[in-house]
């Protein structure tokens, strides 16, 4: 059967981002304790409130239990067998300009297709690249600061704008929110901080690139984006990791805050190493992402393309607190081989006339399991709210699974909520139609998958859309010629 071959070819495609950069690392001792946290905090020269906050989170975490409700299976994680801090070794001071950045690191990013220097000239995207846990270089900082925009690594933000961090950190995802958020709060080592002042429309896309490089290290980054009244920002995030046999942990937290009339657009292409064909290795991606539409008429839009990770556990959500606020969630999740994804969104309607829209496209191939888990909750006071959800699943091969767990809770009469979901395989008719017009089955599958995901890919900024399409192609290689 030709179909069987295609499925096999898909299964046999390789991870193209799996190179290892040979960089000297400055690591904290393995394991987690209050000392580790003090070490991280000291290493980063953090203000006192930060250390207290971390320790509080850690003490709370100690009494928490790992959540078991998700539709995923994995062996127990030994939290004492992880390096919680791995930074590329610096000679004294941090780099002042791009030229000072370790050439090895620069090569890493060049291989990833993010040449920092080039991007400065050509693409016009400001990039904050985070390698393992530490921010390596931030481009375009000067140009942004003219507008009053702060875009820097979390550690810099703690040095230069501690009052802002203290004001906003943990207001959307409290340190006690869930198991992995608490862990992240205790040990996060870096991340991006982004602040758009009142009335400013950020002229360029802001972008962060995350990469786990060091062996048996975990990555715990924390991103905080604040858009003040009337501000607008579009933020991109990309991730990858080298191929390793053991599983690595990634537990990030992202917080978005949109004040009155502000808009945040958050796009991510997640391409962590998914493990090999036997399901060995790969990243455990346990991420908490949440946005708060705090002011009236604010808007938060999440777009995600998930192709990587051995396990994905991720529910970017929106708290629609302000009246007339809008939340959006667009997602493509592709799983292959033994990957498991349990992902979806939460839309909490609290303000009046709030609107949300969910478009989720799952594609499962190989022996993977792909779940959509979503919550749409409309508060009694959230009158005239509106939600539309659509979650479709596409199955390629007969050994994979697709699941949907939508929770819908409605508490008033004037709100309208609609949910639709379908599951199907690529129909033989469509393949036949393509074959008949001279398109091979492989090309046809690629065509259909891309068409199927188009609704979401269209939401991505231009540069990312191209990358995302390539990623889908790589992940389904063999079927796209």
């Amino acid at each position: 059967m030709e179909d069987v071959n295609i499925v096999e070819q898909i299964t046999l495609s390789d991870y193209k981002y799996g190179f290892i950069s040979d960089i000297e690392n400055d690591t904290a001792p393995k394991g987690l304790s209050e000392d580790t946290i003090r070490f991280i905090s000291e290493k980063k020269k953090e203000p006192k409130f930060m250390l207290d906050w971390r320790l509080k989170a850690y003490r709370y975490w100690l009494n928490m239990k790992e959540p078991k409700w998700a539709n995923i299976k994995y062996p127990p994680i030994d939290y004492q067998d992880i390096y919680y801090y791995a930074a590329p070794k610096k000679a004294g001071e941090g780099p002042k300009s791009l030229e000072e950045v370790d050439p090895e690191i620069r090569n890493t990013f060049a291989k990833l297709g993010i040449p920092l220097a080039e991007q400065q000239k050509l693409a016009g995207i400001a990039v904050d690249a985070v390698l393992d846990s530490v921010s390596v270089a931030t481009t375009f900082k000067d140009k942004l600061s003219e507008l009053g925009i702060i875009f820097c690594s979390m550690s810099d933000a703690l040095q230069n704008h501690p009052e802002l961090v203290e004001k906003y950190l943990g207001t959307v995802v409290p340190s006690t929110d869930n198991y992995f958020a608490a862990l992240n709060s205790a040990v996060f080592s870096d991340g991006s901080f982004c602040f758009i002042p009142k009335g400013v429309r950020c002229p360029m896309e802001l972008s962060t690139y995350f990469r786990i490089n060091a062996k048996s290290s975990g990555q715990f980054e924390r991103t905080l984006i604040v858009a003040e009244e009337g501000a607008y920002v579009s933020y991109l995030e990309g991730c990858s990791a080298p191929m390793r046999d053991e599983n690595q942990l990634h537990a990030a937290v992202v917080e978005l805050i949109a004040e009155k009339n502000a808009e945040i657009k958050y796009s991510t292409v997640q391409n962590w190493y998914p493990g090999d064909k036997e399901g060995k290795g790969g990243i455990y991606n346990f991420v908490t992402k949440r946005g708060m539409c705090r002011g009236d008429n604010s808007k938060i839009s999440w777009t995600q393309v998930e192709t990587g990770s051995a396990i994905t556990w991720k529910y970017p959500g929106c708290i629609l607190k302000g009246d007339n606020s809008v939340g959006e969630f667009y997602s493509v999740a592709l799983t292959n081989n033994y990957q498991q994804a349990d992902t979806g969104t939460k839309m909490m309607h609290i303000g009046k006339n709030t609107k949300s829209r969910i478009v989720s496209k799952g594609i499962s191939a190989g022996k993977s399991q792909n779940s959509y888990r979503g919550l749409v909750s409309v508060n009694t006071k959230a009158t005239n709210s509106r939600n539309y959800s659509q979650c479709d699943s596409l199955l390629i091969g007969d050994k994979c699974g697709a699941h949907t767990f939508p929770y819908i809770d409605i508490g008033n009469k004037s709100s309208v909520v609609e949910h639709e979901a379908t599951t199907s395989k690529i129909s033989d008719d469509i393949i036949f139609y393509c074959n008949q017009r001279g398109i091979s089955t492989e090309d046809a599958v690629g065509l259909i998958v891309n068409g199927y995901a188009k609704e979401v890919l269209n939401q991505l900024p231009m540069e990312f859309a191209v990358e995302a399409q390539k990623l889908l192609a790589i992940s389904l290689e063999g079927s796209v010629g």
Binding site: T380, L395, H403, I410, K413, V416, E418, T422, T423, K425
Partner: protein
């Protein structure tokens, strides 16, 4: 879980065992004992269980329910039974008082000797079929405290055996009367329904409580369907405001069988329906129709599961609801398509209309698909009446209230029209029409038309 009811139940079980004398060692009782151990292990579920998240059965500790260990129908007169009869309906009537069969009040007239429409206790005693082949084999008591409890105390209920090739024209009605005039009671009827090859029949279940004290009914029904049989199961729930109900119906379907389960909920205090079908062979068809039209402080939870284990089966599920006052409704519809079950078609819809801001709906249409060549879809909506439809009617000179009534009737009729027993359909129709227009004398004309 140190509730008073639990303690009572523990001592009740000893009492129950002592009463059994010789049959203590019977195969049926071994299953009861096993179920009782299971119940002791997990007790009643709480809101921490995912399946009971919104339907916390807190009432079990609120009232002093007394478990009925033996039947006594003396206090129930024929008038009471007549009160619950449907107009013009020619039926086989089985009456149960506090969960125990009452021959005096029942009215059964089967034509053939092989047809058994009678009591479960009788069937166990006479072992009319090999009961042990069926009892507790389908309704899983390893998951749920309520099923385990019912299995542990399973004594009486309905036993229906329709032999191969038999078609029963008259609907079989199971009328459960709970007597809560003197004390709060807990009843646990156990029903076993077996349909032979190519047999065909309809069953209607009703629960009614007399008296104003709280009553708690915890029935479990096992329906075992053989090749190409066709069973329609109607559960019409219109009990009083002090009634609590947790019912489990487990259907096992063999090749080419067709099961249609219709659940109409109109009143009650706490109603939890677990309706599960396992499609064990190819070419089966399962249809679930549900309608809940509730107000007051009524709580309704419909948990359904359609488990596609074999290829080429179809399932259709439609649940619709109108929520008034402070009604609180949960719908949880799960469809599983197992790895072997290729060419499955499974469709599910849940639509809700909220009439007030105090009403609440939690809906969770859930799909778990492990096979690729399937067509599955689900949809859920919640909202108010369509403004454009309202406008359309009003622009044609129909008053707002009347337009609303018309639209709500139309909304409900999609499910009502699926009822295949004319008398039953008319009853539900006029009940809903009545309830919609109750407060408004002006629309008497409309009422007549709708009826």
């Amino acid at each position: 879980m140190a509730g008073e009811l639990i303690n009572n139940i523990l001592s009740n079980f000893n009492e129950f065992e002592n009463k059994l004398n010789g049959s203590k060692v019977s195969a049926v009782h071994i299953i009861r004992k096993d179920a009782f151990d299971k119940f002791k292990q997990f007790g009643f579920p709480t809101a921490k269980d995912e399946e009971w998240r919104f339907s916390n059965p807190g009432f079990i500790n609120k009232f002093q329910f007394e478990l009925c260990l033996s039947g006594n129908d003396e206090k129930i007169s024929q008038e009471i039974v007549n009160q619950y009869k449907f107009e013009n309906l020619d039926e086989h009537l089985l009456v149960f008082v506090n969960g125990f069969y009452s021959q005096r009040l029942s009215d059964v007239k089967p034509k053939k000797k092989q047809i058994i429409i009678g009591s479960f206790a009788d069937a166990v005693e006479r072992n009319s079929v090999d009961i042990i082949k069926y009892f507790g084999k389908f309704a899983d008591y390893n998951q749920n405290g309520f099923s385990a409890l019912n299995t542990a105390f399973a004594q009486d209920g309905a036993f229906i055996l329709i032999p191969d090739g038999t078609v029963i024209e008259r609907p079989i009605r199971l009328l459960f009367i709970t007597d809560a005039r003197e004390k709060s009671v807990l009843t646990m009827p156990r029903n076993l329904i077996i349909s032979g090859e190519c047999s065909q029949f309809k069953i209607v279940e009703n629960n009614h409580t007399i008296g104003s004290l709280p009553s708690f009914n915890n029935p479990v029904s096992e329906i075992v369907m053989d090749f190409s049989s066709n069973v329609e199961y109607y559960n019409i729930q219109n009990n009083n405001e002090n009634s609590y109900y947790v019912g489990t119906t487990q259907v096992s379907q063999q090749r080419a069988s067709i099961f249609t389960g219709t659940t109409i909920t109109l009143n009650g205090n706490y109603i939890r329906n677990n309706l599960n079908s396992l499609l064990e062979a190819e070419a089966c068809e399962t249809n679930y129709n549900g309608l809940y039209f509730v107000g007051g402080n009524c709580f309704v939870d419909n948990h359904t599961l359609i488990d596609h284990a074999k290829p080429n089966c179809n399932s259709n599920e439609i649940y619709k609801g109108i929520l008034n006052d402070k009604a609180h409704v949960v719908f949880n519809g799960k469809i599983i398509v197992r790895p072997d079950a290729q060419k499955t078609n499974a469709y599910q819809t849940n639509r809700n209309i909220l009439l007030t801001d105090d009403a609440k709906i939690h809906t969770k249409p859930q799909l778990e698909i492990f096979a690729d060549d399937v067509k599955c879809s689900h949809g859920a909506t919640s909202g108010y009446l369509d403004r454009e439809s309202l406008f359309y009617l009003r622009s044609r000179g129909i008053g707002e209230e009347m337009a609303k009534t018309l639209l709500l009737n139309a909304f409900a009729s999609e499910v009502i029209e699926k009822i295949n027993i004319a008398e039953l359909r008319d009853m539900v129709k006029s009940y809903i029409a009545d309830k919609l227009i109750k407060d408004d004398v002006y629309f008497c004309d409309v009422l007549d038309q709708l009826k």
